[in-house]
């Protein structure tokens, strides 16, 4: 422990060296701006940006190059929330939960407030989880190692149940849509043996349905269709009265405090479990906020706390996610894989040796992450007015523009015409489902988590060598606990959702 503490102090010395600090900050700010830009534009992704710019790191000292990439990473996550809030267009799975309340706030003329609360919650969540990671890197690493396929499968299954239960519709409807999502995820190649399923000999279907066109179709396109149908009368109407929108007040931010704290704890805990990730964190954070709220009926209709809950949770995942990469050299996802490459390229090969041999350098980079959050608060805050101006675009222009961006962005990712059909198709699916009061979020989540659950299940079956019951019971105690908790939590959520629904139905009748 003392050794670690010494390394920490030395690390701070490296980062805050007056000769280099200014340049580090410059690189990091550049990364943050770039990340925000690519995150906000559909079609450019944080992942691609990091992959393309990785070679820059080869030529720079670690203390400039790595913070630059970290800047892109952090900026990108917030960038993805901007179109989710303004035009209901999630660029990644992690931004889906933000579309529950973000666009509704924008329509009420509170787009700027939503962007601000998203920024503050993101930074708060990320900052806290980074600090926690620095102090708890060893225990986090030990826990992460304990999570094998059986535990991961059980956690993901539980998450899926929680997500389906906390949608806006009835629990049963959520489950139905979830099953549809699981089915759609099976199109293409199975995650274990790579055999084609439900492709009907169509080559384009072999790689499966791709995520981005599906998300944009389900959320953005269907939203536009619904608004066109309403003759757009209510669509961002308020913008004319309040111009860019009011700013967030201190009282409003403070009222989100508990939610942000709760989501940070949830996000950090989920980050410790490798393979679960931001998507689940955002949903579980949102679900928990809705459950704890005194007025859960407001969630999904433009509740600041909803945005705060999702944003704090998905950002809080970041800190612990890096731990398995740093301590074992095992990247949890594609972004950490690129960071792993960057670390190797600058001569810091992650693994058990890294901490012992280059502890101070590692801590310098971890502290740089904390610094990136502070910088991001400034950079993000200064850029919000520019983004908030989007709502001043007349709706007669904004809607066609959104459609154009949706199609252009989806095409730009892979230059694959099939994705355009997928986008249009899921636009239709989303529209029909929402017309019948189905929540589309469980579909998207089941689509994202389905293959992961399937992989974990197949691996567990393989590991058990035929005796699945004995294997789980006697060798996987953590899995048993999660599996026992699942029906209990499901029952509780089902009870709550029926009660809520009864209340909200009553209110809806009054409104009409």
């Amino acid at each position: 422990m003392e050794v670690l503490f010494g390394a920490m102090i030395e690390g701070a010395g490296i980062l805050f060296n007056p000769e280099t600090l200014f340049i580090t900050i410059l690189y990091m700010t550049g990364g943050l701006l770039l990340g925000m830009f690519v995150g906000a534009l559909p079609g450019l992704t944080t992942l691609t940006a990091m992959a393309i710019l990785l070679p820059i790191v080869f030529f720079l000292p670690p203390i400039f190059g790595i913070p630059f990439l970290l800047g892109i990473y952090k900026g990108g996550i917030y960038g993805g929330s901007i179109p989710a809030i303004l035009v209901s267009m999630p660029g990644t799975g992690a931004a889906v939960a933000t579309t529950f309340d973000g666009p509704a706030l924008t329509r009420k003329g509170k787009g700027r407030k939503a962007l601000e609360v998203a920024l503050f919650s993101s930074v708060a969540g990320d900052f806290t989880s980074d600090i926690f990671t620095i102090f708890a890197i060893v225990p986090i690493a030990l826990i992460a190692l304990k999570i094998g396929p059986p535990e991961l499968g059980a956690v993901l299954f539980l998450s899926l149940i929680v997500i389906s239960a906390t949608g806006s519709g009835a629990f049963v409807k959520g489950l139905l849509v979830m099953v549809l999502g699981l089915f759609i995820a099976m199109i293409g190649q199975d995650p274990i043996g790579a055999l084609s399923r439900f492709t009907f000999g169509v080559f384009e279907l072999r790689s499966g349905i791709s995520l981005l066109p599906m998300l944009i179709g389900l959320f953005a396109l269907s939203e536009l269709l619904l608004n066109i149908e309403k003759k757009a009368s209510a669509y961002i109407d308020a913008k004319l009265k309040v111009r860019e929108g009011e700013r967030l007040t201190w009282a409003e931010f403070r009222s989100c405090g508990r939610t942000i704290m709760r989501s940070t704890v949830i996000g950090t805990s989920i980050g410790i479990i490798p393979g679960v990730g931001q998507v689940v964190a955002a949903f579980v954070g949102y679900a928990a906020a809705k459950n704890a709220s005194k007025h859960p009926e407001k969630f999904g209709k433009g509740e600041l706390e909803g945005v705060a809950a999702a944003e704090a949770a998905n950002n809080a995942v970041n800190g612990p996610t890096l731990v398995p990469m740093l301590t074992f050299g095992i990247p949890g996802d594609n972004i950490t894989a690129i960071l792993l490459g960057a670390f190797i390229a600058v001569g810091m090969r992650p693994g058990p040796q890294l901490m012992a041999e280059q502890g101070p350098q590692v801590f310098a980079i971890l502290l740089a992450m904390v610094l990136a959050n502070v910088l991001f608060l400034v950079v993000g805050y200064l850029s919000i007015p520019a983004f908030a101006r989007v709502v001043r675009i007349p709706k007669s222009l904004l809607m066609p523009l959104t459609i154009m961006f949706a199609f252009a962005g989806v095409f730009a990712v892979r230059n694959n015409p099939t994705d355009l059909y997928v986008l249009a198709f899921f636009g239709g699916v989303g529209y029909v489902l929402r017309k019948f009061h189905f929540d589309v979020a469980p579909l998207a989540m089941a689509f994202i988590l389905g293959p992961e659950i399937e992989r974990a299940l197949s691996q567990t079956l393989s590991l058990s060598k035929g005796d699945i019951f004995g294997y789980i019971m006697f060798e996987r105690p953590i899995t048993v606990v999660i599996l026992v908790l699942t029906p209990v939590i499901a029952w509780y959520l089902w009870r709550r959702s029926t009660k809520l629904r009864r209340e909200s139905l009553g209110m809806a009748n009054q409104e009409e």
């Binding site: 340049i23 992942l47 691609t48 990091m50 992959a51 393309i52 710019l53 990785l54 070679p55 820059i56 080869f58 030529f59 720079l60 000292p61 400039f64 190692l145 304990k146 094998g148 396929p149 293409g188 190649q189 995650p191 043996g193 790579a194 080559f203 072999r206 790689s207 499966g208 791709s210 490798p274 398995p324 074992f328 050299g329 095992i330 990247p331 949890g332 594609n334 972004i335 950490t336 894989a337 690129i338 792993l340 490459g341 190797i344 390229a345 600058v346 001569g347 090969r349 992650p350 693994g351 058990p352 040796q353 890294l354 892979r414 992989r455 197949s458 691996q459 393989s462 590991l463 060598k465």
Partner: protein
């Protein structure tokens, strides 16, 4: 600091397709070359390509742009490259398992041998078999003996069905007549985690990955041709035919590429081999720079196909 900034600017310029260097008038290439990777970001192919595409522009006077096209275990990207015009402006960065093994386990919409010709074998990755440091299996023979005495008991964590980490291991087990339980993971990282957590008895990893693990793991055998000082036995020394335990990273062009263009590209890769920056960067990644000329590699492909067919047949019928 100024030097660093200069370097960064020039790299960025290269990245965005501005050609740098003494450009003599020539008719190929006159525009950036697209390099299709039929895999996702962050893998070893991605990292390797980031290195050489930032160096190769000095030798072809044009940028080389990486285009990641993952999906359908390599089929999406490979199919796109197969149908691209054979003018040298579209290349494919693949490996021998996509190139020669996949045809025996899948119904592919292309024929890699007929559709592609090798520009260069950039380098190869040679796998090692590792166990945990406190494993009871001290030697490769010990592991095999245990496996033969207890069929199905050994747990082999590999990086994915018919993938680069699985084929050498499966070949080795088949050769040693060991029946182990094989569980596929999503890439080398997760299969390494399975070993470290004690979920698996052994796994097959790249030396560069093993280097980072320090004294946590023990290497039982490697695919090197010649033993390195202090290293574990080579697969060759225990009698196992080594040539099939390597992953070759290969740059392919659609067949039908004009001969002079193919020659120009092959020459550029050969020249890059001597580049100091290239060597230094690959060394940092822990990768080899053992280039093999495209013409020589062409001779390997039919041999690989035959051996892979044998392996697939023996594993799927029985």
């Amino acid at each position: 600091m100024r030097i660093n900034l200069m370097k960064m600017v020039s790299t960025a310029a290269l990245m965005f397709g501005v050609s740098i260097g003494g450009a003599a008038a020539q008719d190929f290439p006159t525009k950036p070359i697209t390099l299709i990777l039929p895999m996702g970001a962050g893998g070893s192919h991605d990292l390797n390509s980031r290195v050489f595409t930032s160096i190769i522009p000095q030798y072809i006077d044009q940028a080389m742009i990486v285009k990641l096209m993952p999906g359908a275990s390599g089929q999406t990207g490979t199919a796109a490259a197969a149908t691209a015009p054979a003018d040298g402006y579209t290349l494919l960065f693949s490996h021998n398992y996509f190139d020669q093994l996949q045809q025996h386990v899948k119904d592919l919409p292309y024929d890699t041998t007929k559709d592609f010709v090798t520009v260069a074998r950039l380098n190869s990755a040679r796998f090692c078999l590792i166990v945990l440091a406190d494993s009871p299996h001290k030697t490769i023979e010990g592991l095999f003996d245990f496996g033969r005495a207890n069929p199905g008991k050994l747990e082999f964590a590999h990086s994915g069905q018919w993938g680069a980490g699985m084929v050498p291991g499966a070949r080795l087990l088949q050769w040693a007549q060991v029946n182990a339980n094989m569980t596929p993971y999503r890439g080398g990282g997760p299969s390494l985690r399975a070993l470290l957590a004690g979920d698996a008895d052994f796994t097959v990893q790249l030396p560069s990955t093993i280097a980072g693990q320090g004294d946590k793991v023990r290497t039982l055998a490697c695919v090197n041709d010649e033993p390195v000082v202090g290293s574990p036995p080579t697969f060759k020394s225990i009698g196992f035919p080594t040539e099939l335990g390597e992953m070759h990273r290969i740059i392919m062009a659609p067949r039908g590429i004009p001969a002079d263009r193919l020659a120009l590209l092959r020459e550029a890769f050969a020249k890059m081999q001597e580049d100091k920056t290239y060597k230094r960067m690959m060394k940092r990644l822990g990768e080899d720079t053992n280039l093999m000329d495209g013409a020589d590699y062409e001779k390997l492909r039919p041999v690989q196909s035959g051996t892979y067919k044998e392996l697939v047949d023996s594993m799927t019928k029985g």
